[in-house]
C-alpha cells in the first residue's frame, strides 16, 4: 500500500475491524455466551490491559496484557474442571469487541485518545488468530465447540495462531502508518517489526502460557501470568519515557544556533522535517531515521565556535574550506557525547560534495549527509527569496540545487526532495 490516501487506509481498517466486531457481537448475542464466567473473566482482563496500555517510541501504542488475554481466550480449549471450552470465533470477537469498546469509552471519558484504529486492529488480529488456531487444529476455521477433544497437543497450532495474529497486527499497523506518512510500505513494516517484536513475543508467550495453564490452574492463571508481563510493560514504559525525553532535549537544544543568532529561526526544525521525509522516501530504518533527525537538527552546531555569526546563517555563502571547518567543529561537539558517533560522521560529511571531479560518487559521504546537505541548502535558498518571490521560491530553490547536481548535490536526493515537496503541496 505505498503512498495512497492516509485517511482511506485508516478508515478501511476501522470499518473492517468494527464491522467484524459488531457481527461477532450480534452472532454471540443471538446464540448466547457459553460458560459466561470464563468469557467475563477474559473480557475484564482485556479491558484492564487496554486501560494500562503503554506508549512506545514512534507513537506506537501497545497493550501487552490486553493482547495476551485476547490471544489466550482464542486458544483456550479446556477448563480446569475437566470440561471443554465451548466458545467459538464469534464469542472471541464479541469479548474483545465489548472490552475494547468499554475501554475506548473510558479513555474518552478521561479525555485520553480512544485509539479506535488500534481497537479495530486488535479485533482483526484476534479474529485471525482464533480462526487460524481452529483451522490448524480441526480443519475448520469457524469450529465452535469442544475443540480440545480432538487435539492432544495443541502447542503447534497455538504457536501458528499466535504468529498469524502478530503478522496481521503488525501488517495493518504498517499499512496505516505508511499511508499516513506517505512513505513506502516495506521499510515501514520492517521498522514496525523491529520496534514491536520483543513485546509481541512476550505477549504471545504469555497468551499461550495462559491458555495452557487455565486447564491446570483454573482462571487464577490469568492473574498470575499478568505479573511478569506487567514488569515487562513497566520496563518498556521507562525506556519509552527516556527516549522521548532524549528526543525532546535534542530538539530543544538544537535551537541554540537560532537563539544565538547564527541561523534563521526555525531553520534546524525545517531541515529536520524535510530530511526525515526524504529519508523515508529512501526507505531508511527507524534507527537510521533517528540519526538523520539528530544530524539535521544539529547540522549547524559548529557555527557556535565562530566568533561572529555568518550573515543570515547560511553556509552557502562561505568558502568550501570554511564550510568544512564548521562541519568539523560541529562533529567534534557531537562526538564528545560519546554515543552519537554516526550522527557526528553525518554532520562532518555534509560539507563534502557527493562526488569529486572525474570520480564516481564518494562512498565516504553517507546518504544521510547528502540529504542534510540538500535540505539545508534548499531551506536557505527558500527563506532568502520567499518574501520577494512567493510560491516561485520553491521552484527557484530546486532549480539552484539541480544546477549543483554535477558535484554538490546527489541527484537522487534532489529527486526525492522534489517528490516530498510535491506530496506536501509546496510545489
Amino acid at each position: 500500500m505505498p503512498g495512497g490516501n492516509g485517511a482511506f487506509a485508516r478508515r478501511a481498517v476501522l470499518t473492517a475491524g468494527l464491522g467484524i466486531g459488531v457481527a461477532g457481537f450480534a452472532m454471540t448475542a443471538a446464540k448466547g455466551v457459553p460458560q459466561l464466567h470464563v468469557a467475563v473473566s477474559f473480557a475484564v482482563l482485556v479491558l484492564v490491559g487496554e486501560l494500562l496500555r503503554v506508549n512506545l517510541p514512534g507513537d506506537r501504542d501497545s497493550s501487552p496484557i490486553g493482547g495476551a488475554a485476547a490471544l489466550a481466550y482464542s486458544l483456550l480449549v479446556a477448563l480446569d474442571n475437566g470440561t471443554d471450552a465451548e466458545h467459538g470465533v464469534s464469542t472471541v470477537i464479541a469479548v474483545v469487541f465489548v472490552a475494547g469498546v468499554a475501554s475506548a469509552l473510558i479513555h474518552e471519558a478521561l479525555q485520553r485518545d480512544a485509539r479506535t484504529t488500534d481497537l479495530a486492529r486488535r479485533i482483526l488480529a484476534t479474529a485471525a488468530a482464533a480462526a487460524a488456531f481452529r483451522l490448524v487444529l480441526v480443519g475448520s476455521p469457524l469450529e465452535d465447540v469442544a475443540v480440545g477433544r480432538r487435539a492432544d497437543q495443541p502447542l503447534l497450532a497455538m504457536a501458528i495462531a499466535a504468529l498469524v495474529g502478530i503478522a496481521v497486527d503488525l501488517g495493518l499497523s504498517a499499512a496505516v502508518d505508511s499511508a499516513r506518512k506517505r512513505a513506502p510500505f516495506a521499510p515501514i513494516l520492517r521498522n514496525e517489526v523491529t520496534a514491536q517484536a520483543p513485546l509481541s513475543i512476550a505477549t504471545a508467550a504469555t497468551g499461550i502460557l495462559m491458555a495452557l495453564s487455565v486447564p491446570v490452574m483454573g482462571l487464577w492463571a490469568l492473574l498470575v501470568f499478568c505479573v511478569p508481563l506487567l514488569v515487562t510493560q513497566f520496563s518498556f514504559r521507562r525506556f519509552a519515557s527516556i527516549s522521548t525525553t532524549y528526543r525532546q532535549t535534542i530538539r530543544a537544544l538544537s535551537r541554540v544556533t537560532e537563539v544565538g543568532g547564527y541561523v534563521e529561526p526555525g531553520h534546524a526544525r525545517r531541515v529536520m522535517t524535510l530530511s526525515v521525509a526524504v529519508g523515508r522516501e529512501f526507505g531508511l530504518t527507524d534507527a537510521d531515521l533517528l540519526d538523520l533527525e539528530y544530524a539535521a537538527l544539529m547540522h549547524d552546531i559548529g557555527q557556535l565556535s565562530l566568533a561572529d555569526p555568518i550573515p543570515r546563517g547560511s553556509t552557502l555563502t562561505v568558502a568550501p574550506s570554511e564550510r568544512r571547518r564548521i562541519a568539523q567543529l560541529g562533529a567534534e561537539v557531537i562526538r564528545t557525547t560519546g554515543t552519537l558517533d554516526r550522527v557526528a560522521h553525518i554532520v562532518e560529511s555534509q560539507a563534502s560534495p557527493y562526488r569529486k571531479m572525474r570520480e564516481n560518487a564518494d562512498v565516504d559521504v553517507p546518504l544521510a549527509a547528502r540529504i542534510v546537505k540538500a535540505c539545508s541548502a534548499y531551506d536557505d535558498l527558500v527563506s532568502t527569496s520567499r518574501e520577494a518571490r512567493g510560491t516561485r521560491a520553491s521552484w527557484d530553490a530546486l532549480e539552484r540545487l539541480r544546477m549543483g547536481m554535477a558535484f554538490e548535490y546527489d541527484p537522487r536526493v534532489v529527486e526525492a526532495l522534489t517528490q516530498v515537496l510535491q506530496k506536501a503541496g509546496d510545489l
Binding site: 513475543i201 512476550a202 515487562t232 520496563s235 527516556i242 522521548t244 532524549y246 537544544l253 544565538g260 557556535l304
Partner: protein, 463 residues
Amino acid sequence: MRELPPRARLYVLVVVLLAFGSAGVASMGFRGSWVELGALALLYGLATHFATPMGKNMGVSVGFIVALAAAAVIGPHGVGLIGLAGALHPVSGSGRTVKRFFNAAQFSLAALTAGLVFDALLGGDGTRNIAESSVPMVLLAAIAASLVYYVINISLIAGILSLTSELSLARVWAGNVSPVIVAYVGYGLLGLLMAQLYQEVGFLAAVLFLAPMLVARAAFANYAQLRETYDSTVRALVQAVETKDYYTRGHSERVSRVTEMIAREWGMREDRVQVIRIAGMLHDVGKLGVPTKVLQKQGKLNQLEFEAIKLHPLRGYEMLCEIDFLTEALSGVYHHHERLDGRGYPMGLQDEEIPEFARIIMVADAFDSMTSTRSYRLAKTVEEAVAELRRCEQVQFDPKVVDCLVAAVEKHGWEPHAEPFHGEKVTKEGRRIDSPVPVISTKQGLVAVTPPEPEEGERSARG
C-alpha cells in the same frame, strides 16, 4: 590470566576446582532424566546470557528462577551441573576464558548450595517434594534458598574484586549488597511457580514463562544505557554553548553538581533530584541569546545591556519548555535570578513566591560563580563564599537552602574552580596574589552578572 595477580589466580583456581568437584560429586546422587537436566541447563544458560546484569546490580540474573525451579523439579543433585551453564553469562574485556570459567564456577556453587538448602528445609528426600510440604514451608524454603544464592554469588565476586583491586573484602562486599536482594526473593517465588508449571503443564510452559522476563530485562538494559547517554549528550551540548565564554566553562556542570548535592540534603525525592540536576545543567542555556560582548564586559553595564542580560532566563525557558521531563524545573530556570527581597528579575518575586527549584538553583549558581575565576575577579575560597552567602541570606537567598549547601559541602567537600586569571599568579587554593581588578561589590548581587543600581533595574524589571 596473565594480568591477574598470583593470589587472584590461586583464588580462581580454588573456586573453579571446588565448583567442578562439588557439582560432579553431587551429580552422582542424581537419579532423574539427563535430557531433562540438559534442557534445564540450556535454559539456565540462556536466561543468564540474555538477562544482562548492569553496574551495581552485578550478579542479578533471571537464571536464578531456573535454578530454583530445577532444584524443585529434578532435585538438588543435578543443580550444580546446571549452574555450570552460567559460563554463558556475557563477559567483556581481556581474559574472557578465565572469566567464563570463574562465572561457571561461582554460579554453580551458588545454585548447588541454594538447591541443597531448599531440599534440606523440605525434608531432604531429593526430589518432587513441593506437593507434599505445607505452603508456608515451601515459601520459607524458597526465600532461604534465594538468600543463600545471593550471598554466595556476591561473596565469590567480592573475593575476586578485592584481590584484583586491593580494596578490603568487607568493603567490596558492603558496596555490592543492595536492595536487589528483595528482587531475589521475588525471583525465588517465581522459581516455585515455574516448577509448578513445569510439572503440571510441561517444559515448554516453563520456557514461555521466562520469555516476558527476559524481554523486560533487555528493555531495562536499554533504558539504563540511554539514561547514561542522555547525561553525556546534555553535557556535551552545554559545553558547546559555553565555548562562547571562557570564564564560564564548566560552570553549568558544576552548578548541576551543587544543585544535586543541595537537593539531596533538602530531602527531595529521587526522580525530582534527577530533574533538578538536569535543570541545573541547563539553567544558563538562554545566555546564548545575549551578545558575547555584553557577557564578557568588565565593569558596570548600562541600562540597555542589563536589559539584554535580563532576557536570558526567558530565552532559556522558551528553549526548554517543550521538554516534558523538565516541566517542573522550568520555573527554576525562569526564576533563578529572583531575590527573596523582590529585587531580582525577571518577575521580582518575593520569598515564598519564588519556586523551590529556583531557590535551590540560585544558591548553587551563586556558590559556583564565587568559587570560580571570572573575567572581573578571582575565585573565592569555599569559606569566603559560604560567608558571603550567609551575609546575603534573607535578602537574596533562602537560608534553608544555604543550610543545605553548607551541610552538603561539609559532607562531600568542594574543589573551587580556580583558573589562571589573565595570566596573573594564583595560588593553589585559588587565592589571588595581587588583584588587578577590584572585586565587584557584592551588595548588588553575587551572581555572574552585576546589575546596575538596584533602583533602576528593579523598576524596569517590574514594569
